[in-house]
Amino acid sequence: MEILGYLILGFQTAFQPENLLFCFLGVLTGTLVGVLPGVGPVAAMSLLLPTTFHVPPVSAIIMLAGIYYGAMYGGSTTSILVNIPGEAASVVTCLDGYQMARKGRAGPALGISAFGSFIAGTLSILGLMLVAPPLAQMALKFGPPEYFSLMILGLVILTFLASGPMWKALIMACIGLFIGCVGMDSITATFRFTFGLLELSDGVGLVPVAMGLFGVSEVLFNVEKSMKRSVFETKIQNLFPSRKDWGESFWPILRGTGLGFFLGVLPGGGSLIASFVSYAIEKKVSRTPEKFGTGMIAGVAGPESANNAGSGGAFIPLMTLGIPGNAVTAILLGALIIYGVQPGPKMIIDHPKLFWGVIASMYLGNGMLLLLNLPLIGIWVKILKVPYPFLFPLILLFCLIGAYSLNNSVLEMGIMVLFGILGYLFKKFRYEGAPLILAMVLGPLMEHNFRASLGLFDGRLPGFFERPISAVIMGIAIILLLLPLIPGVKKRPAIGDAED
């Protein structure tokens, strides 16, 4: 009954005209950035973050969350029609979605992707609503060692699941931790690695780094290639899947939802992994696995449901523990701190309007997305036809404006350009940006909890293994770290740059 009362409060908050408008703007922007290849949700959220400083935190978080799950919806459109994923979590949708389009079935592919996303998104919000409050209650018992261990586990899972060798992802995570150390030490008030620059006394800003790594570097990576792309010329009809399509998609949608939600909850997991695992499972359980890759609707329904459920699940570690599981929720954590809200187990109690308002807005946002995606597919296709040589100067200009307007600082624009170059080089040498961003956000929290734990244990590192929860979490992290060293343990499949 208590949850019902809070949910009513949430809907009262979400139905306020201002919040409805921001929810709509969020899902619309999310769909747009999902549709446009080369602009991901991290860059879009970073770009729009400074513009939300004049609005209440609830409205701002509603909009930023809308961008995240909206991007999951929009990403499938480019995968199906152009064979280019709009964002990383839709990579696997290309395999069967594009083949369906080539066979004249673009309509059912887009339709099942929208309906599957809606069902998965709604069910995952239900899960978030039921799981988050008890988990937050449990997390109240956590001390600095448990928090430190959890953050270590989150980083290790992300590096374990990253594409390429694990040492590369670990280096990226460490670089992120180092960037998190820049600025004033909160305990001794010592300025570290600021090189005398006053702007760096509060640390390196998350927004310029994220926009550089995910926005500018993506543009640099794209402009060096031929910038022509062709949208598949086909008449999009029968957006509502047939009874046969529904029959083939029902179980993949449900399996994708469960799997996506579970993987989304894990720190370091998220939509990208969920979509890949879902595709692998659908292929495994199918009676005709050999037909996957030739236009099977289950190969679209499962992964698309999984990536949407994953985005809902990813809110759980953020809202209950204050630990972001991926780069997008890391941006949300940064935003919450900027708005003066400390995410963690007490957030649900201290800011019920914000927590339940965001949850209720997600229900509304999912409905809006369904209404947006089906009738507006024609418009998204037209947007896809905007030539990239016109698009990329705009993306760069918006990134520059976003970096400047955060603190009216030219230095932050310079930092963004610098990280754009670094991000471009990282891509060239096959290093991922996601562990860096996550570690950068977690860095100050990790350092604080690490030093507090050392104080508790009188400097003894084995102390982390003397408390049961911390010992279990650390144990899992160590096993994952050592797993690639065991001969015969197969490296997981490459999953591309885990932008989400």
């Binding site: 400074p50 060798p165 040492w167 460490c174 990329f392 200009l397 404006i401 400047y404 471009y424 050392l454």
Partner: protein, 151 residues
């Protein structure tokens, strides 16, 4: 030398530099940690993981994995043009103000990378700069830098 050997070598040096830099801020002890402890441990971890990477890359080198030309076959001069534009924007925005710098930035990119006709370049640069100014400065009150003419 292959790509991973080169990159892990660079990261090894970066890790070592971070360790050296951390000593300036005092490391302290595990029971009484000081400001330099965390960056020191992070720097050491970077060097450690890059040493593992260098070792693995060297094994691959023995198996015949050589240098992979990362700019081969790409239009890399375009990257340099874009970077020059970005640096130009950062340097010029204070003296020229947002509107003129944005127009120059967009115009230059449309002409040099596009490449588009002059009419498209001039019209596109003017309209994009104007719309961005109206949206961000007037509507969203982003307080973008003003030039000599007040915008």
């Amino acid at each position: 030398m292959n790509n991973d050997q080169a990159s892990s070598g660079v990261f090894f040096l970066i890790g070592a530099a971070i360790c050296l830099g951390s000593i300036r801020y005092k490391i302290g002890t595990l029971s009484e940690p000081d400001s330099g402890l965390m960056p020191f441990l992070v720097g050491a971890a970077i060097s450690f993981f890059s040493a593992i990477g260098f070792f693995q890359a060297s094994l691959k080198k023995r198996q015949g994995e050589g240098w992979n030309r990362i700019w081969g076959g790409y239009l890399w001069p375009r990257v340099l043009i874009v970077l020059a534009c970005l640096f130009g924007y950062v340097l010029l925005i204070k003296p020229l103000g947002f509107f003129f710098t944005a127009a120059l930035f967009i115009g230059f990119l449309l002409r040099a990378v596009g490449p588009h006709r002059w009419a498209v370049v001039i019209l596109g640069a003017f309209l994009i700069a104007l719309c961005s100014y109206l949206v961000f400065d007037v509507w969203l009150m982003a307080q973008l830098p003003k030039g000599p003419l007040g915008f």
